[in-house]
Protein backbone atom coordinates (compact mmCIF):
# COMPACT_ATOMS: atom_id res chain seq x y z
CA UNK A 1 0.00 0.00 0.00
CA UNK A 2 2.68 2.38 1.05
CA UNK A 3 4.45 1.30 -2.07
CA UNK A 4 1.42 2.39 -4.07
CA UNK A 5 1.37 5.81 -2.48
CA UNK A 6 5.07 6.25 -2.97
CA UNK A 7 4.65 5.28 -6.57
CA UNK A 8 2.02 7.88 -7.32
CA UNK A 9 3.72 10.62 -5.34
CA UNK A 10 7.05 9.90 -6.92
CA UNK A 11 5.63 10.33 -10.37
CA UNK A 12 3.60 13.39 -9.39
CA UNK A 13 6.65 15.19 -8.08
CA UNK A 14 8.54 14.10 -11.13
CA UNK A 15 5.80 15.70 -13.15
CA UNK A 16 6.30 18.99 -11.39
CA UNK A 17 10.03 18.93 -11.88
CA UNK A 18 11.85 21.02 -14.45
CA UNK A 19 15.29 19.68 -13.80
CA UNK A 20 15.73 16.75 -16.12
CA UNK A 21 17.91 14.73 -13.80
CA UNK A 22 15.84 15.46 -10.71
CA UNK A 23 12.80 14.40 -12.71
CA UNK A 24 14.46 11.10 -13.44
CA UNK A 25 15.38 10.73 -9.79
CA UNK A 26 11.76 11.17 -8.76
CA UNK A 27 10.88 8.52 -11.25
CA UNK A 28 13.27 6.14 -9.63
CA UNK A 29 11.14 6.56 -6.54
CA UNK A 30 8.11 5.61 -8.58
CA UNK A 31 9.72 2.54 -10.03
CA UNK A 32 11.03 1.38 -6.68
CA UNK A 33 7.43 1.72 -5.61
CA UNK A 34 6.29 -0.55 -8.43
CA UNK A 35 8.96 -3.07 -7.54
CA UNK A 36 7.87 -3.04 -3.94
CA UNK A 37 4.27 -3.58 -4.96
CA UNK A 38 5.46 -6.74 -6.64
CA UNK A 39 7.51 -7.82 -3.67
CA UNK A 40 4.71 -7.03 -1.24
CA UNK A 41 2.27 -9.12 -3.23
CA UNK A 42 4.81 -11.89 -3.39
CA UNK A 43 5.15 -11.82 0.38
CA UNK A 44 1.41 -11.83 0.86
CA UNK A 45 0.94 -14.76 -1.49
CA UNK A 46 3.81 -16.65 0.01
CA UNK A 47 2.47 -16.13 3.51
CA UNK A 48 -0.76 -17.68 2.28
CA UNK A 49 1.03 -20.55 0.61
CA UNK A 50 0.07 -19.51 -2.92
CA UNK A 51 3.44 -20.28 -4.39
CA UNK A 52 2.56 -19.89 -8.04
CA UNK A 53 1.00 -16.47 -7.42
CA UNK A 54 4.01 -15.47 -5.39
CA UNK A 55 6.15 -16.62 -8.27
CA UNK A 56 4.14 -14.44 -10.61
CA UNK A 57 4.39 -11.34 -8.44
CA UNK A 58 8.04 -11.92 -7.81
CA UNK A 59 8.81 -12.43 -11.46
CA UNK A 60 7.04 -9.18 -12.15
CA UNK A 61 9.10 -7.41 -9.51
CA UNK A 62 12.42 -8.82 -10.64
CA UNK A 63 11.57 -8.21 -14.26
CA UNK A 64 10.80 -4.64 -13.41
CA UNK A 65 14.07 -4.32 -11.56
CA UNK A 66 15.80 -5.43 -14.71
CA UNK A 67 13.79 -3.12 -16.94
CA UNK A 68 14.22 -0.22 -14.63
CA UNK A 69 17.95 -0.79 -14.71
CA UNK A 70 17.82 -0.70 -18.48
CA UNK A 71 15.64 2.23 -19.31
CA UNK A 72 16.62 4.33 -16.37
CA UNK A 73 20.25 4.04 -17.28
CA UNK A 74 19.30 4.86 -20.85
CA UNK A 75 17.43 7.91 -19.68
CA UNK A 76 20.33 9.01 -17.57
CA UNK A 77 22.63 8.54 -20.54
CA UNK A 78 20.30 10.71 -22.55
CA UNK A 79 20.12 13.35 -19.85
CA UNK A 80 23.88 13.24 -19.58
CA UNK A 81 24.17 13.64 -23.33
CA UNK A 82 21.86 16.63 -23.23
CA UNK A 83 23.83 18.06 -20.37
CA UNK A 84 27.12 17.70 -22.19
CA UNK A 85 25.62 19.01 -25.41
CA UNK A 86 23.95 22.07 -23.95
CA UNK A 87 25.14 22.45 -20.39
CA UNK A 88 21.49 22.88 -19.47
CA UNK A 89 19.51 20.75 -17.07
CA UNK A 90 16.49 22.98 -16.76
CA UNK A 91 14.03 21.83 -19.39
CA UNK A 92 12.63 25.33 -19.61
CA UNK A 93 15.82 26.31 -21.43
CA UNK A 94 15.92 23.36 -23.77
CA UNK A 95 13.89 22.37 -26.77
CA UNK A 96 14.27 21.50 -30.40
CA UNK A 97 17.16 19.21 -29.64
CA UNK A 98 15.72 16.59 -31.93
CA UNK A 99 17.02 18.55 -34.86
CA UNK A 100 20.48 18.86 -33.47
CA UNK A 101 20.88 15.41 -31.92
CA UNK A 102 18.41 13.07 -33.63
CA UNK A 103 20.07 9.83 -32.54
CA UNK A 104 20.08 10.72 -28.88
CA UNK A 105 16.50 11.84 -29.31
CA UNK A 106 15.57 8.48 -30.76
CA UNK A 107 17.08 6.44 -27.94
CA UNK A 108 15.61 8.78 -25.38
CA UNK A 109 12.24 8.36 -27.03
CA UNK A 110 12.56 4.58 -26.77
CA UNK A 111 13.41 4.89 -23.12
CA UNK A 112 10.48 7.23 -22.52
CA UNK A 113 8.10 4.83 -24.22
CA UNK A 114 9.53 1.95 -22.23
CA UNK A 115 9.25 3.67 -18.88
CA UNK A 116 5.71 4.81 -19.70
CA UNK A 117 4.90 1.12 -20.11
CA UNK A 118 3.93 1.32 -23.75
CA UNK A 119 3.86 -1.89 -25.73
CA UNK A 120 5.81 -3.45 -27.29
CA UNK A 121 8.60 -2.30 -24.99
CA UNK A 122 9.87 -3.98 -21.88
CA UNK A 123 8.34 -1.60 -19.34
CA UNK A 124 4.92 -2.74 -20.41
CA UNK A 125 5.67 -6.40 -19.89
CA UNK A 126 6.68 -6.09 -16.26
CA UNK A 127 3.75 -3.82 -15.55
CA UNK A 128 1.45 -6.25 -17.30
CA UNK A 129 2.80 -9.03 -15.12
CA UNK A 130 2.23 -6.94 -12.03
CA UNK A 131 -1.36 -6.37 -13.10
CA UNK A 132 -1.80 -10.07 -13.61
CA UNK A 133 -0.45 -10.63 -10.13
CA UNK A 134 -2.96 -8.14 -8.78
CA UNK A 135 -5.69 -9.91 -10.68
CA UNK A 136 -5.13 -13.18 -8.83
CA UNK A 137 -5.10 -11.46 -5.46
CA UNK A 138 -8.85 -11.80 -4.69
CA UNK A 139 -7.97 -15.33 -3.66
CA UNK A 140 -6.13 -13.94 -0.64
CA UNK A 141 -8.01 -14.69 2.56
CA UNK A 142 -7.20 -11.49 4.44
CA UNK A 143 -9.91 -8.87 4.15
CA UNK A 144 -7.57 -5.96 4.53
CA UNK A 145 -5.59 -7.14 1.55
CA UNK A 146 -8.77 -7.60 -0.40
CA UNK A 147 -9.46 -3.93 -0.09
CA UNK A 148 -5.93 -2.70 -0.35
CA UNK A 149 -4.87 -4.58 -3.42
CA UNK A 150 -7.39 -3.06 -5.86
CA UNK A 151 -6.51 0.34 -4.51
CA UNK A 152 -2.88 -0.39 -5.13
CA UNK A 153 -3.80 -1.53 -8.60
CA UNK A 154 -5.58 1.75 -9.23
CA UNK A 155 -2.56 3.61 -8.00
CA UNK A 156 -0.30 1.58 -10.21
CA UNK A 157 -2.47 2.41 -13.21
CA UNK A 158 -2.58 6.05 -12.22
CA UNK A 159 1.16 6.08 -11.84
CA UNK A 160 1.62 4.50 -15.24
CA UNK A 161 -0.60 7.07 -16.91
CA UNK A 162 1.07 9.93 -15.09
CA UNK A 163 4.42 8.53 -16.05
CA UNK A 164 3.35 8.68 -19.66
CA UNK A 165 2.30 12.29 -19.17
CA UNK A 166 5.53 13.05 -17.43
CA UNK A 167 7.66 11.65 -20.19
CA UNK A 168 5.66 13.28 -22.91
CA UNK A 169 6.62 16.41 -21.09
CA UNK A 170 10.21 15.41 -20.60
CA UNK A 171 10.72 14.45 -24.20
CA UNK A 172 8.44 17.02 -25.72
CA UNK A 173 9.85 19.98 -23.90
CA UNK A 174 13.45 18.87 -24.11
CA UNK A 175 13.74 17.56 -27.61
CA UNK A 176 10.77 18.91 -29.52
CA UNK A 177 9.53 22.35 -30.30
CA UNK A 178 11.90 25.22 -30.90
CA UNK A 179 15.06 25.82 -28.89
CA UNK A 180 14.38 28.01 -25.87
CA UNK A 181 17.97 29.04 -25.38
CA UNK A 182 21.03 29.62 -27.57
CA UNK A 183 22.72 26.73 -25.78
CA UNK A 184 19.98 24.43 -26.99
CA UNK A 185 20.08 26.02 -30.42
CA UNK A 186 23.64 24.93 -31.20
CA UNK A 187 23.77 21.62 -29.37
CA UNK A 188 26.03 18.96 -30.83
CA UNK A 189 25.36 15.26 -31.10
CA UNK A 190 27.37 13.36 -28.51
CA UNK A 191 30.35 11.20 -29.40
CA UNK A 192 30.06 7.88 -31.11
CA UNK A 193 30.81 5.74 -28.08
CA UNK A 194 28.10 7.04 -25.82
CA UNK A 195 25.73 6.85 -28.76
CA UNK A 196 26.71 3.25 -29.24
CA UNK A 197 26.08 2.50 -25.59
CA UNK A 198 22.69 4.15 -25.77
CA UNK A 199 21.72 2.20 -28.85
CA UNK A 200 22.76 -1.07 -27.28
CA UNK A 201 20.64 -0.42 -24.21
CA UNK A 202 17.73 0.72 -26.35
CA UNK A 203 18.02 -2.47 -28.36
CA UNK A 204 17.93 -4.46 -25.14
CA UNK A 205 14.81 -2.58 -24.05
CA UNK A 206 13.14 -3.58 -27.29
CA UNK A 207 14.39 -7.15 -27.16
CA UNK A 208 13.12 -7.73 -23.63
CA UNK A 209 9.84 -6.17 -24.60
CA UNK A 210 9.46 -8.30 -27.68
CA UNK A 211 10.69 -11.60 -26.31
CA UNK A 212 9.86 -11.41 -22.60
CA UNK A 213 9.64 -15.18 -22.34
CA UNK A 214 13.40 -15.48 -22.40
CA UNK A 215 13.81 -13.10 -19.49
CA UNK A 216 11.14 -14.84 -17.46
CA UNK A 217 12.84 -18.16 -17.94
CA UNK A 218 16.14 -16.63 -16.99
CA UNK A 219 14.61 -15.31 -13.78
CA UNK A 220 13.01 -18.63 -12.98
CA UNK A 221 15.73 -20.12 -10.76
CA UNK A 222 15.86 -17.13 -8.46
CA UNK A 223 12.08 -17.08 -8.31
CA UNK A 224 12.06 -20.78 -7.61
CA UNK A 225 14.41 -20.12 -4.70
CA UNK A 226 12.35 -17.36 -3.17
CA UNK A 227 8.79 -18.20 -3.95
CA UNK A 228 9.12 -21.97 -3.86
CA UNK A 229 7.50 -22.14 -7.27
CA UNK A 230 8.06 -20.77 -10.74
CA UNK A 231 6.13 -19.69 -13.75
CA UNK A 232 5.54 -22.24 -16.48
CA UNK A 233 8.40 -22.43 -18.91
CA UNK A 234 7.76 -19.76 -21.50
CA UNK A 235 10.17 -20.98 -24.12
CA UNK A 236 7.87 -23.48 -25.76
CA UNK A 237 4.72 -21.41 -25.73
CA UNK A 238 3.77 -20.94 -29.36
CA UNK A 239 5.08 -17.85 -31.09
CA UNK A 240 7.03 -16.62 -28.06
CA UNK A 241 4.07 -15.26 -26.27
CA UNK A 242 4.07 -15.29 -22.47
CA UNK A 243 1.45 -17.09 -20.49
CA UNK A 244 1.86 -16.57 -16.74
CA UNK A 245 -1.08 -18.67 -15.62
CA UNK A 246 -3.07 -20.18 -18.46
CA UNK A 247 -3.63 -19.13 -22.03
CA UNK A 248 -7.36 -18.84 -21.54
CA UNK A 249 -6.64 -16.60 -18.58
CA UNK A 250 -4.24 -14.16 -20.08
CA UNK A 251 -1.40 -14.01 -22.50
CA UNK A 252 0.67 -11.40 -24.16
CA UNK A 253 2.80 -11.64 -27.20
CA UNK A 254 5.23 -8.82 -27.60
CA UNK A 255 6.53 -10.15 -30.86
CA UNK A 256 3.18 -10.19 -32.59
CA UNK A 257 2.14 -6.83 -31.26
CA UNK A 258 5.40 -5.43 -32.42
CA UNK A 259 5.17 -7.00 -35.84
CA UNK A 260 1.57 -5.94 -36.15
CA UNK A 261 2.20 -2.33 -35.35
CA UNK A 262 5.27 -2.24 -37.51
CA UNK A 263 3.49 -3.90 -40.37
CA UNK A 264 0.39 -1.80 -40.26
CA UNK A 265 2.40 1.39 -39.88
CA UNK A 266 4.56 0.50 -42.84
CA UNK A 267 1.55 -0.66 -44.79
CA UNK A 268 -0.28 2.57 -44.19
CA UNK A 269 2.81 4.59 -44.99
CA UNK A 270 3.44 2.59 -48.11
CA UNK A 271 -0.11 2.92 -49.31
CA UNK A 272 -0.18 6.59 -48.64
CA UNK A 273 3.07 7.16 -50.41
CA UNK A 274 1.99 4.98 -53.25
CA UNK A 275 -1.35 6.50 -53.94
CA UNK A 276 -1.39 9.84 -52.23
CA UNK A 277 0.52 12.91 -53.19
CA UNK A 278 4.05 12.71 -51.94
CA UNK A 279 4.53 16.44 -52.19
CA UNK A 280 4.95 18.54 -49.15
CA UNK A 281 6.09 22.05 -48.50
CA UNK A 282 7.77 23.66 -45.58
CA UNK A 283 5.95 26.63 -44.15
CA UNK A 284 5.88 28.52 -40.89
CA UNK A 285 3.66 26.98 -38.32
CA UNK A 286 0.08 27.99 -38.70
CA UNK A 287 -0.89 28.12 -35.05
CA UNK A 288 -4.48 29.12 -35.61
CA UNK A 289 -3.45 32.07 -37.62
CA UNK A 290 -1.42 33.91 -35.07
CA UNK A 291 2.02 32.38 -35.24
CA UNK A 292 4.57 33.98 -32.99
CA UNK A 293 8.20 33.58 -34.04
CA UNK A 294 9.33 33.95 -30.46
CA UNK A 295 10.23 30.60 -28.89
CA UNK A 296 9.13 32.04 -25.56
CA UNK A 297 5.53 31.60 -26.58
CA UNK A 298 5.92 27.86 -26.63
CA UNK A 299 4.36 25.67 -24.12
CA UNK A 300 6.80 25.23 -21.26
CA UNK A 301 7.31 22.40 -18.83
CA UNK A 302 5.45 24.04 -16.00
CA UNK A 303 2.62 25.14 -18.24
CA UNK A 304 2.46 21.61 -19.55
CA UNK A 305 2.08 20.28 -16.07
CA UNK A 306 -0.42 22.98 -15.17
CA UNK A 307 -3.64 21.03 -15.73
CA UNK A 308 -2.36 18.15 -13.66
CA UNK A 309 -1.23 20.62 -11.07
CA UNK A 310 -4.74 21.98 -11.02
CA UNK A 311 -6.22 18.55 -10.64
CA UNK A 312 -4.00 17.06 -8.01
CA UNK A 313 -2.35 20.25 -6.95
CA UNK A 314 -4.48 21.49 -4.12
CA UNK A 315 -4.48 18.16 -2.41
CA UNK A 316 -1.00 16.96 -2.94
CA UNK A 317 1.28 19.90 -3.40
CA UNK A 318 -0.70 22.64 -1.75
CA UNK A 319 0.18 24.42 -4.95
CA UNK A 320 -0.29 28.18 -4.82
CA UNK A 321 -0.56 29.92 -8.14
CA UNK A 322 -0.40 33.65 -7.87
CA UNK A 323 -0.99 35.61 -11.02
CA UNK A 324 -0.34 39.29 -10.75
CA UNK A 325 -1.51 41.14 -13.77
CA UNK A 326 -0.19 44.60 -14.23
CA UNK A 327 -2.84 47.25 -14.04
CA UNK A 328 -3.53 48.57 -17.56
CA UNK A 329 -0.93 51.09 -18.63
CA UNK A 330 1.49 49.90 -16.06
CA UNK A 331 4.81 48.98 -17.57
CA UNK A 332 5.72 45.69 -16.03
CA UNK A 333 5.43 42.13 -17.22
CA UNK A 334 2.68 40.01 -15.87
CA UNK A 335 4.11 37.22 -13.80
CA UNK A 336 2.73 33.87 -12.77
CA UNK A 337 4.54 32.23 -9.94
CA UNK A 338 3.83 28.76 -8.73
CA UNK A 339 4.75 27.73 -5.24
CA UNK A 340 4.67 24.04 -4.52
CA UNK A 341 4.88 22.92 -0.96
CA UNK A 342 4.50 19.19 -1.11
CA UNK A 343 2.14 18.44 1.73
CA UNK A 344 2.87 14.78 1.75
CA UNK A 345 6.46 15.52 2.48
CA UNK A 346 5.49 17.79 5.34
CA UNK A 347 2.77 15.59 6.67
CA UNK A 348 4.07 12.10 6.10
CA UNK A 349 7.78 11.88 5.51
CA UNK A 350 9.04 14.82 7.50
CA UNK A 351 7.72 13.54 10.84
CA UNK A 352 9.20 10.14 10.17
CA UNK A 353 12.50 11.71 9.29
CA UNK A 354 12.38 13.83 12.43
CA UNK A 355 11.53 10.82 14.53
CA UNK A 356 14.36 8.79 13.11
CA UNK A 357 16.71 11.69 13.56
CA UNK A 358 15.65 12.09 17.16
CA UNK A 359 15.98 8.42 18.01
CA UNK A 360 19.31 8.26 16.24
CA UNK A 361 20.60 11.18 18.27
CA UNK A 362 19.31 9.65 21.46
CA UNK A 363 20.84 6.28 20.83
CA UNK A 364 23.97 7.87 19.55
CA UNK A 365 24.89 8.73 23.11
CA UNK A 366 25.71 5.08 23.47
CA UNK A 367 28.66 5.58 21.19
CA UNK A 368 30.39 7.76 23.75
CA UNK A 369 30.07 5.77 26.94
CA UNK A 370 33.02 4.74 29.03
CA UNK A 371 34.09 1.14 29.19
CA UNK A 372 32.74 0.94 32.69
CA UNK A 373 29.32 1.92 31.46
CA UNK A 374 29.51 -0.66 28.70
CA UNK A 375 30.35 -3.22 31.32
CA UNK A 376 27.30 -2.03 33.20
CA UNK A 377 25.23 -2.77 30.14
CA UNK A 378 26.65 -6.25 29.94
CA UNK A 379 26.12 -6.72 33.65
CA UNK A 380 22.51 -5.71 33.51
CA UNK A 381 21.70 -7.81 30.51
CA UNK A 382 23.19 -10.72 32.38
CA UNK A 383 21.16 -9.94 35.48
CA UNK A 384 17.98 -9.59 33.46
CA UNK A 385 18.48 -12.94 31.77
CA UNK A 386 19.24 -14.58 35.10
CA UNK A 387 16.12 -13.08 36.65
CA UNK A 388 14.10 -14.34 33.70
CA UNK A 389 15.62 -17.72 34.33
CA UNK A 390 14.82 -17.52 38.01
CA UNK A 391 11.20 -16.53 37.66
CA UNK A 392 10.57 -18.83 34.71
CA UNK A 393 9.27 -21.63 36.82
Amino acid sequence: MLAGITTVLGVLYALMEHDLKRLLAYHTVENIGIIFIGLGLALAFRANAMQWAAALALTAALFHVLNHMLFKSLLFFGAGAVLTATGERDMEHLGGLIHRMPKTAFTFLVACAAISALPPLNGFVSEWLTFQAILVSPQLPQWVLKFLVPAVGAMLALAAALAATCFVKAFGITFLGRPRSPAAAEAKEVDRWSLGAMFVVAALCMLFGILPGLVIDALAPAVQMLAGARLPVQAEVRWWSIVPIAESHSSYNGLLVFLFSAMSALLAAALIHRFASRRFRRAPAWDCGFPDPQPATQYTASSFAQPIRRVFGTHVFAARETVDMPAPGEMRPARLDVRLRDLIWDRLYAPVAVGVEYTARRLNVLQFLTIRRYLTLVFFSLIILLVVLAIWR
Partner: protein
Protein backbone atom coordinates in the same frame (compact mmCIF):
# COMPACT_ATOMS: atom_id res chain seq x y z
CA UNK B 1 32.50 -38.15 50.45
CA UNK B 2 32.33 -37.55 54.20
CA UNK B 3 30.34 -34.90 55.93
CA UNK B 4 33.44 -33.21 57.21
CA UNK B 5 35.07 -32.63 53.87
CA UNK B 6 31.83 -31.38 52.58
CA UNK B 7 31.62 -28.87 55.38
CA UNK B 8 35.19 -27.77 54.86
CA UNK B 9 34.70 -27.35 51.14
CA UNK B 10 31.50 -25.51 51.85
CA UNK B 11 33.35 -23.33 54.32
CA UNK B 12 36.05 -22.44 51.85
CA UNK B 13 33.79 -21.59 48.99
CA UNK B 14 31.47 -19.70 51.29
CA UNK B 15 34.54 -17.90 52.58
CA UNK B 16 35.41 -16.92 49.06
CA UNK B 17 32.04 -15.28 48.64
CA UNK B 18 32.45 -13.54 51.94
CA UNK B 19 35.83 -12.20 50.94
CA UNK B 20 34.51 -10.84 47.69
CA UNK B 21 31.80 -9.09 49.62
CA UNK B 22 34.53 -7.61 51.78
CA UNK B 23 36.38 -6.60 48.63
CA UNK B 24 33.27 -4.79 47.64
CA UNK B 25 33.30 -3.09 50.99
CA UNK B 26 36.83 -1.69 50.81
CA UNK B 27 37.40 1.95 50.07
CA UNK B 28 41.16 2.02 50.52
CA UNK B 29 43.44 0.86 47.79
CA UNK B 30 45.93 -1.02 49.87
CA UNK B 31 43.40 -2.78 52.03
CA UNK B 32 41.73 -3.76 48.81
CA UNK B 33 44.98 -5.30 47.61
CA UNK B 34 45.42 -7.15 50.89
CA UNK B 35 41.94 -8.49 50.80
CA UNK B 36 42.42 -9.61 47.28
CA UNK B 37 45.50 -11.53 48.33
CA UNK B 38 43.31 -13.11 50.98
CA UNK B 39 40.77 -13.94 48.27
CA UNK B 40 43.42 -15.74 46.26
CA UNK B 41 44.62 -17.62 49.35
CA UNK B 42 41.14 -18.85 50.16
CA UNK B 43 40.72 -19.91 46.57
CA UNK B 44 43.97 -21.85 46.59
CA UNK B 45 42.87 -23.59 49.78
CA UNK B 46 39.54 -24.53 48.23
CA UNK B 47 41.24 -25.79 45.10
CA UNK B 48 43.76 -27.77 47.11
CA UNK B 49 40.96 -29.36 49.01
CA UNK B 50 39.25 -30.30 45.77
CA UNK B 51 42.53 -31.73 44.52
CA UNK B 52 42.60 -33.87 47.60
CA UNK B 53 38.97 -34.92 47.38
CA UNK B 54 39.02 -35.73 43.69
CA UNK B 55 42.52 -37.14 43.96
CA UNK B 56 43.66 -35.02 41.04
CA UNK B 57 47.20 -33.87 41.77
CA UNK B 58 47.06 -31.61 38.73
CA UNK B 59 44.76 -29.35 40.67
CA UNK B 60 47.54 -28.70 43.16
CA UNK B 61 49.29 -26.82 40.39
CA UNK B 62 46.25 -24.66 39.96
CA UNK B 63 46.18 -24.05 43.68
CA UNK B 64 49.84 -23.18 43.60
CA UNK B 65 49.39 -20.76 40.72
CA UNK B 66 46.49 -19.17 42.51
CA UNK B 67 48.55 -18.78 45.64
CA UNK B 68 51.80 -17.63 44.11
CA UNK B 69 50.59 -15.60 41.18
CA UNK B 70 47.41 -14.03 42.42
CA UNK B 71 48.14 -14.24 46.09
CA UNK B 72 51.55 -12.63 45.95
CA UNK B 73 52.89 -11.45 42.61
CA UNK B 74 49.92 -9.56 41.25
CA UNK B 75 49.10 -7.74 44.47
CA UNK B 76 52.72 -6.69 44.79
CA UNK B 77 52.84 -5.57 41.20
CA UNK B 78 49.68 -3.55 41.63
CA UNK B 79 51.09 -2.15 44.84
CA UNK B 80 54.16 -1.02 42.94
CA UNK B 81 52.00 0.50 40.25
CA UNK B 82 49.96 2.40 42.73
CA UNK B 83 53.05 3.72 44.42
CA UNK B 84 54.90 4.43 41.19
CA UNK B 85 52.09 6.28 39.50
CA UNK B 86 50.90 7.55 42.83
CA UNK B 87 47.29 6.85 42.07
CA UNK B 88 44.62 7.90 44.45
CA UNK B 89 44.93 5.88 47.59
CA UNK B 90 41.21 5.78 48.14
CA UNK B 91 38.75 4.33 45.67
CA UNK B 92 36.20 6.53 44.01
CA UNK B 93 32.92 4.68 43.91
CA UNK B 94 30.12 5.31 41.50
CA UNK B 95 27.48 4.10 43.89
CA UNK B 96 27.97 4.43 47.65
CA UNK B 97 29.40 1.47 49.48
CA UNK B 98 26.17 0.80 51.33
CA UNK B 99 23.97 0.39 48.27
CA UNK B 100 26.74 -1.62 46.63
CA UNK B 101 26.75 -4.03 49.53
CA UNK B 102 22.98 -4.35 49.36
CA UNK B 103 23.22 -5.02 45.65
CA UNK B 104 25.88 -7.61 46.37
CA UNK B 105 23.62 -9.36 48.85
CA UNK B 106 20.88 -9.26 46.25
CA UNK B 107 23.18 -10.83 43.69
CA UNK B 108 24.14 -13.63 46.02
CA UNK B 109 20.48 -14.25 46.62
CA UNK B 110 19.84 -14.29 42.91
CA UNK B 111 22.58 -16.78 42.22
CA UNK B 112 21.25 -19.03 44.98
CA UNK B 113 17.76 -18.83 43.52
CA UNK B 114 19.07 -19.67 40.09
CA UNK B 115 21.31 -22.55 41.07
CA UNK B 116 19.87 -24.27 44.08
CA UNK B 117 16.49 -25.38 42.72
CA UNK B 118 18.40 -27.56 40.29
CA UNK B 119 17.62 -31.22 40.51
CA UNK B 120 20.01 -33.13 42.67
CA UNK B 121 21.44 -34.86 39.63
CA UNK B 122 24.58 -32.79 40.00
CA UNK B 123 26.24 -33.80 43.28
CA UNK B 124 25.58 -31.32 46.11
CA UNK B 125 29.16 -30.11 46.34
CA UNK B 126 29.22 -29.15 42.69
CA UNK B 127 25.95 -27.34 43.15
CA UNK B 128 27.22 -25.44 46.16
CA UNK B 129 30.36 -24.58 44.30
CA UNK B 130 28.42 -23.41 41.31
CA UNK B 131 26.18 -21.26 43.42
CA UNK B 132 29.11 -19.67 45.21
CA UNK B 133 31.10 -19.33 42.04
CA UNK B 134 28.25 -17.57 40.35
CA UNK B 135 27.87 -15.17 43.23
CA UNK B 136 31.61 -14.48 43.26
CA UNK B 137 31.42 -13.82 39.55
CA UNK B 138 28.52 -11.44 39.86
CA UNK B 139 30.15 -9.65 42.75
CA UNK B 140 33.31 -9.24 40.74
CA UNK B 141 31.34 -7.80 37.86
CA UNK B 142 29.52 -5.51 40.22
CA UNK B 143 32.84 -4.36 41.54
CA UNK B 144 34.11 -3.69 38.05
CA UNK B 145 31.23 -1.43 37.32
CA UNK B 146 30.98 0.40 40.59
CA UNK B 147 34.65 1.29 41.00
CA UNK B 148 36.37 3.88 38.93
CA UNK B 149 39.99 2.98 39.50
CA UNK B 150 41.70 0.86 36.92
CA UNK B 151 43.35 -1.14 39.68
CA UNK B 152 40.15 -1.96 41.45
CA UNK B 153 38.64 -2.99 38.18
CA UNK B 154 41.54 -5.30 37.48
CA UNK B 155 40.96 -6.78 40.91
CA UNK B 156 37.29 -7.13 40.16
CA UNK B 157 38.14 -9.02 37.02
CA UNK B 158 40.54 -11.27 38.90
CA UNK B 159 37.92 -12.10 41.47
CA UNK B 160 35.58 -13.05 38.62
CA UNK B 161 38.25 -15.34 37.38
CA UNK B 162 38.75 -16.80 40.88
CA UNK B 163 35.08 -17.61 40.85
CA UNK B 164 35.50 -19.37 37.54
CA UNK B 165 38.36 -21.47 38.78
CA UNK B 166 36.34 -22.36 41.83
CA UNK B 167 33.54 -23.55 39.59
CA UNK B 168 35.93 -25.41 37.33
CA UNK B 169 37.53 -27.25 40.20
CA UNK B 170 34.17 -27.92 41.76
CA UNK B 171 32.99 -29.73 38.64
CA UNK B 172 34.18 -33.27 39.22
CA UNK B 173 36.90 -34.44 36.88
CA UNK B 174 36.76 -31.37 34.70
CA UNK B 175 39.73 -31.50 32.35
CA UNK B 176 41.82 -28.54 31.19
CA UNK B 177 41.33 -26.72 34.48
CA UNK B 178 45.03 -26.18 34.89
CA UNK B 179 45.41 -24.97 31.35
CA UNK B 180 42.54 -22.60 31.82
CA UNK B 181 43.97 -21.18 34.99
CA UNK B 182 47.31 -20.68 33.26
CA UNK B 183 45.61 -19.01 30.31
CA UNK B 184 43.78 -16.73 32.67
CA UNK B 185 46.95 -15.82 34.51
CA UNK B 186 48.42 -14.77 31.20
CA UNK B 187 45.32 -12.76 30.47
CA UNK B 188 45.63 -10.99 33.77
CA UNK B 189 49.29 -10.31 33.12
CA UNK B 190 48.15 -8.64 29.93
CA UNK B 191 45.67 -6.54 31.80
CA UNK B 192 48.23 -5.41 34.33
CA UNK B 193 50.57 -4.48 31.51
CA UNK B 194 47.66 -2.70 29.95
CA UNK B 195 47.28 -0.64 33.06
CA UNK B 196 50.92 0.27 32.71
CA UNK B 197 50.33 1.22 29.09
CA UNK B 198 47.51 3.45 30.13
CA UNK B 199 49.38 5.03 32.97
CA UNK B 200 48.52 8.39 31.50
CA UNK B 201 44.98 7.81 32.51
CA UNK B 202 44.36 6.11 35.78
CA UNK B 203 40.74 5.34 35.17
CA UNK B 204 38.85 3.57 32.47
CA UNK B 205 36.39 6.41 32.60
CA UNK B 206 38.88 8.73 31.06
CA UNK B 207 39.85 6.23 28.43
CA UNK B 208 37.39 7.52 25.93
CA UNK B 209 36.27 10.94 26.83
CA UNK B 210 34.52 12.78 24.10
CA UNK B 211 37.70 14.66 23.24
CA UNK B 212 38.92 11.53 21.56
CA UNK B 213 35.72 11.18 19.69
CA UNK B 214 35.87 14.69 18.38
CA UNK B 215 39.42 13.94 17.36
CA UNK B 216 37.98 10.96 15.55
CA UNK B 217 35.15 13.01 14.17
CA UNK B 218 32.54 10.97 15.93
CA UNK B 219 31.28 13.61 18.30
CA UNK B 220 28.03 15.09 16.98
Amino acid sequence: MGKLEFDIAHLFSGGLVLVSLLLLYQDRMFSLLRFFAGHAVVLSLAVALQADLQAKPALYITALIALAFKGIIIPLALYRIVVRLDLHRELETVVGVGPTMLAGIGLIGLSMIVILPLTAAADPLAREDLAFALSVLLLGLLMMITRRNAVSQVIGFMSIENGLILAATGAKGMPLVVEISVAFSILIAFIVIGVFLFRIRERFDTVDISALHSARGEQP
